[in-house]
């Protein structure tokens, strides 16, 4: 039971790290980014490339994660600056089609650059074994994931609530025109949020990589879970994603144990139930007029 609870948390926290970027981008830009899974996949592949060159060293792994985030940040900046920015004033359907097109393009590029076969990344030195928790031994890397989720959540909360940048981002969510009238460069805010969201996807992909096969198609698997997390938690809500991810982790692990192959039904029933009860998600807000 303890192990299953820990498994649920580890899965949930990994999902949170990936999904929080999606919810951040939606919260500010109001863009549903289908390509978020593609950013996750690029993060894993970039880490693979770095580790392949450096060998299984601590510097290679942790440095590779930083490189993955930087690469994603640069890609996201290019995408936002030269393409997505042109679509903010267009209808939502065009934005959806655009991000979906990115999914297809990235899918093919990944295959061209890294080939169609699966790759694998070892756990970083010191994280491959298990740690004695008194009650039971538990994989060290998963413990690290469980701890890193709240650290990232609190860090983001502090940035959003306690810094000037955070205040500007929150203001951009509420009233873009007023913010612009006050002399804030809203375009730069949007660009920064999109870059930060993509870097979080890259971080999530890189952190998930030692536990997964790095392969084409890994984007499609993760994006559905990310959408479930942000819909259950509330689109645009940081803590909504946090708790949504934990709920999905628990539903997945305990659903599999109790209902076997019917686990997926449990996850979707949960999502439908939340949407019927609170269509705006657990911690989401009812949509108000935005300017």
């Amino acid at each position: 039971m303890f192990i299953q609870l820990m498994n649920s948390l580890a899965l949930g926290m990994n999902l949170f790290i990936i999904a929080v970027g999606l919810t951040l981008i939606f919260g500010v830009l109001r863009v549903i980014n289908f390509a978020h899974g593609s950013f996750f996949m690029i993060g894993a592949y970039v880490l693979y490339s770095v580790v392949k060159r450096t060998g299984d060293t601590a510097l290679g792994f942790w440095g590779g994660i930083v490189v993955a985030m930087l690469v994603l940040g640069f890609i996201a900046w290019l995408v936002e600056r030269f393409l997505l920015r042109r679509l903010y004033d267009k209808e939502h359907l065009l934005q959806l089609v655009f991000t979906f097109a990115l999914v297809l393009i990235v899918g093919d590029l990944v295959k061209i650059i890294w080939g169609p076969l699966q790759h694998s990344i070892s756990y970083p030195p010191g994280f491959g074994g298990a740690t004695d928790l008194g009650i039971s031994r538990y994989p060290t890397y998963m413990l690290f994931l469980i701890l890193s989720g709240p650290v990232i959540a609190v860090s983001l909360w502090l940035i959003l609530e306690k810094t000037r940048w955070g205040r500007i981002i929150r203001a951009a969510r509420l009233d873009r025109q007023m913010l612009s009238a006050l002399g804030v460069n809203v375009k730069a805010v949007y660009s920064a949020v999109f870059v930060a969201g993509a870097m979080l996807a890259g971080l999530g992909g890189a952190l998930a990589a030692p536990r997964l096969a790095v392969e084409p198609g890994m984007d499609a698997l993760i994006i559905i879970d990310c959408f479930i997390v942000v819909i259950v938690g509330g689109l645009g809500s940081l803590w909504g994603s946090f708790f949504g991810a934990i709920i999905l982790g628990v539903a997945t692990i305990f659903g599999t144990l109790i209902f076997g192959e019917w686990e997926i039904v449990i996850v979707y029933i949960l999502m439908v139930a939340v949407l019927l009860w609170r269509p705006w998600g657990l911690l989401g807000r009812i949509e108000e007029d935005r300017h």
Binding site: I3, Q4, N7, A10, L11, G107, D108, K111, P116, L117, Q118, H119, S120, S122, Y123, G128, G129, A130, P139, T140, Y141, M142, P210, R211, L212, A213, E215, P216, G217, M218, A220, L221, I222, T252, I253, F254, T256, L257, G260, E261, E263, I264
Partner: protein
């Protein structure tokens, strides 16, 4: 009012025409009397690309060889490939498109039994041969059998029976079975169970959904079971993820492991390297480091040249053999009429890189073997190899 209606109707009509033309319904089949056209359906994007793209190499190699030798009855072979995306609906639509638009004479594919079963319906309706060199579900040539369906994979009857033999070798005792929840795993474990010798039995079965990426619940279930040996069928990237997640728990030190679904291939062990569970019994269609004969070595050399690597992939041999069978049938029948090809294929015997293969005239299946053996560390390499590797069926 009428004008608006008329304009709307004209736009609507144009949209319909564009849609129909887009679907290829009005485009005449680009039939060429000079070539024999093979329609190939494989997953070339997403997670299935690791199967589909190497499998395409086998098609290329066979067609190159045949064409360089002058073709079949003086006609060159050409192939048209479509991506199934591992989805049954996509595959059956693509199969229809290949038949109606490209005018292909035979179909080869696909990966994943659910996908091939969907294509089989199209083949049956269109009366065109579907040759399945990879999909293993016995349903393809049993409950869903029709005269245009041929299967040359190591089907679930064969693979299950061979695994039962491996279970005897490792003195399996109580067995727990795990695989994805679809036709392949269900048919396989039915075959395994019926072939197990006395003293061995499947005591627990744990199915996981296809596409699962978190295996922690399964790992706990396997660790909690009192079985002595695990019979596994999780394949592809799922196998990599499962192994990576199970290693820190020490799962592979607790029980014996016998794994089907070709996870003993070099591409799989090369992907996992030192993380591959040493001692696991696994299988593979082909092994670049284990030639069976001079003919097999010659095939491996040609494939190495095509792929640009000495350590060749496992799947090309399956599709290579499929094309060779079809080419021989076309040669014997003197044309591409489906019924004549069926007659030619029934009972056909052929020498392949992996030895002789014969198509059973009743079941339309071949007895296809695979390499089986324990995976071991090799000195000087971080990639495990099957040692000793035995070719069995």
């Amino acid at each position: 009012m009428f004008g608006i209606y008329s304009k709307a109707r004209r736009v609507f009509a144009l949209e319909i025409i564009a849609l129909v033309m887009g679907l290829g319904l009005f485009s005449a089949p680009s039939m060429s009397a000079d070539t024999i056209k093979i329609g190939v359906l494989l997953p070339t994007s997403g997670g299935g690309a690791s199967y589909g793209i190497p499998a395409e190499n086998g098609i290329k190699l066979a067609i190159n060889e045949i064409n360089q030798a002058g073709g079949v009855n003086g006609k060159m072979l050409e192939y048209f490939i479509r991506d199934t995306k591992l989805k049954p609906a996509v595959a059956s639509a693509a199969a229809r498109e290949l038949i109606t638009k490209e005018g292909v004479h035979v179909l080869v594919g696909a990966v994943s039994s659910g996908v091939t079963l969907a294509m089989s319906e199209v083949a049956k309706q269109e009366k065109i041969i579907l040759f399945a060199p990879i999909s293993k579900s016995i349903a393809l040539t049993e409950s869903k059998f029709h005269k245009y369906m041929f299967q040359s994979s190591a089907n679930t009857n064969i693979e299950g029976r061979v695994m039962a033999g491996v279970m005897k070798k490792v003195e399996a005792g109580k067995i727990c079975a795990t695989g994805y929840d679809y036709a392949y795993s269900h048919d396989f474990f039915a075959s395994l169970e019926s072939n197990l010798e006395e003293g061995m039995a499947i005591v627990d079965t744990f199915y996981v959904k296809l596409g699962t990426k978190d295996y922690n619940a399964l790992i706990s279930q396997l660790m909690g079971s009192d079985c002595d040996t695990v019979a596994g069928l999780i394949w592809g990237g799922g196998f990599v993820s499962m192994v990576k997640q199970a290693n820190p728990f020490g799962l592979f030190d607790q029980k014996k492991f016998v794994w089907g679904a070709e996870v003993g291939s070099h591409e799989m062990s090369n992907s996992l390297k030192g993380d591959y569970p040493e001692g696991m019994w696994a299988n593979s269609y082909d092994l670049w480091y284990s030639p069976l004969s001079d003919a097999h070595q010659a095939f491996l050399d040609d494939l190495a040249e095509l792929e640009g690597q000495k350590e060749t992939n496992m799947y090309p041999v399956t599709t290579y053999n499929a094309v060779k069978f079809l080419a021989k049938a076309i040669e014997i029948s003197g044309g591409t009429d489906s019924d004549a090809l069926v007659t030619a294929l029934e009972g056909m015997a052929m020498e392949t890189p992996l030895g002789p293969m014969t198509i059973d005239p009743e079941t339309h299946r071949t007895e296809t073997g695979e390499f089986w053996g324990p995976m071991k560390k090799i000195e000087g390499s971080d990639v495990l190899r099957m040692s000793p590797a035995e070719y069995v069926y």
